[in-house]
Symmetry: D2
């Protein structure tokens, strides 16, 4: 699951990006309803936020909508392609209180395979705060599957090209 | 549950506002996770959006945060005051698809009582769209209660004054 | 939206049921995650519980599954029929704490129209408790629509017959 | 985070359990609302199910309620102890469709430390099905913290004793 093209243009682009360490920065609004009875953002709500960041980062926007250059994936029952989470890992550094400013979800690709990608996340408070807090780190392996057959489907050249600049080092987890 | 002060300043302010029809306009980001297996925003997700609009409209912002002039309510176990939904009514006009633009939740007060308010909502697509769609109308009766005793607690003069400009006609439901 | 067949067998069955006051009793497990930061079952979670009770009461069970005699509705994108909430109303009598016993959702039909039904709910604690508590009452108008066209589709004779015994008086809300 | 007592009674009990491979079996009801627009149980909903299994397995039941012998943890703002997820890892083997039978969440402890435990999960379909399906495996590190100070608090001898029979081998993940 680690090759990203062969002797083609995207390989060079990728090498450069790893050095540059480019990341997507997706602001995601919290909801008070994300809190649980401990008055913190619930573990599962945090994954909901990461899911939404992923949709906004990588799914093709609808008519009249805008997305980043990486938003080239046609996902849905209509499109015939589903994006399934095959595995996910998350590590928390601090409880997240409710806040009106959006969280900033930073994202990049740790690996890109034939039909799957490893998406890496770091979740921060809003960049307008003087003191930045990192709340969590996560990795999700997403597999593209055919909606009819359930079988893996290939990541297209368009996706590879669009995603290459955001290829970086996978997260290494301290507490495994 | 209908009086809003007596022979005081806020009564005059209210009368004017009813005529003026002032409403709060709160943008709320959808999440793809709000969709259900029918590929529409789920009924319960819509109420979650209204809950969030209510929190942003009426709860006092935290340190370093900003809210509208109506955000004067200290709510929470810490603050000792809970805001409970005593009843809610919602009517849908059209299914809501996922969209990147936030929905626009328009809000006003239909009634203000001694310890409860009737919050009225109309949910639209983003004002940047040429064609505006109204997705739903809702009314929620919110009661302020003491977190310890569970008993209703009085709406403060500060709240009455802050909320008076947004007092308007209650929603009349066609399909009751 | 109030006729239920004409001069046919189900009309007689219905008349009897109204007298008898038959209700479905659907046990629904709470989750600690249904609580919000006020340490009560959240308003939107309660509607989620009612949604689940509705699915278990009225949707046809899958292979190897069992449902009540009223579970005759084929709903889903696959089945080509969606069941949309057109309006919902809910009134709370007491906050709901987390509990291991399932809640008991009692259900009946307030009205049955050409392509819509009014589902009535009363939510209780588990019947094993000596003291029964009624937590909430709710009414939901559900419309059957064609998944392709979005247009209303007729309630089938099979549904009318299966549902007739559970036809009763609509809820009248005290605090409207 | 791996010691579980020293030269005491629980060590012997633990050694035996590892051999015996004892697991808790907690049935958890799905909700149709756990599905996302792909018509599968959503990734975050699955974690919600695991959270509920954990609460039912380890939190002390309320008055008039029953729980397994492992349910000895007093958790909540009232109890002064919060149980926070410090990290979680999940691997999926098959998409989970909606089903009326509860899922069976099997649980055991991979590690027990001074103030944290590693909870291991395997999620199956209901044991009444002839063909058992394993849907997912997960590991969650739960830390007990003082609700006031946020500092880790010790796992009590009562917990150690109650949990010892369910101490087993941690999950080793194939696709890390």
């Amino acid at each position: 699951m680690t090759e990203i093209g062969g002797a083609d243009a995207s390989a060079a682009a990728t090498a450069e990006a790893v050095a540059a360490g480019e990341r997507l920065h997706i602001p995601i609004q919290l909801r008070w309803g994300d809190l649980d009875a401990f008055n913190h953002v619930n573990n599962t709500s945090m994954l909901k936020l990461l899911e939404e960041a992923r949709v906004r980062a990588f799914w093709r926007p609808g008519e009249g909508e805008h997305g980043p250059s990486t938003a080239v994936l046609d996902s849905g029952l209509d499109a015939g392609v589903l994006t399934l989470v095959a595995r996910q890992e998350i590590e928390y550094f601090a409880p997240v209180p409710y806040q009106r400013h959006p969280l900033e979800v930073q994202m990049w690709f740790g690996k890109v395979g034939g039909s799957s990608v490893e998406v890496c996340y770091e979740v921060f408070n809003d960049p307008s705060f003087e003191e930045r807090v990192v709340y969590a780190r996560s990795t999700a392996v997403i597999v593209l599957v055919n909606a009819e057959t359930g079988r893996p489907t290939r990541i297209s050249p368009e996706m590879r090209t669009a995603w290459a600049p955001y290829f970086g080092a996978p997260i290494s987890y301290a507490h495994r």
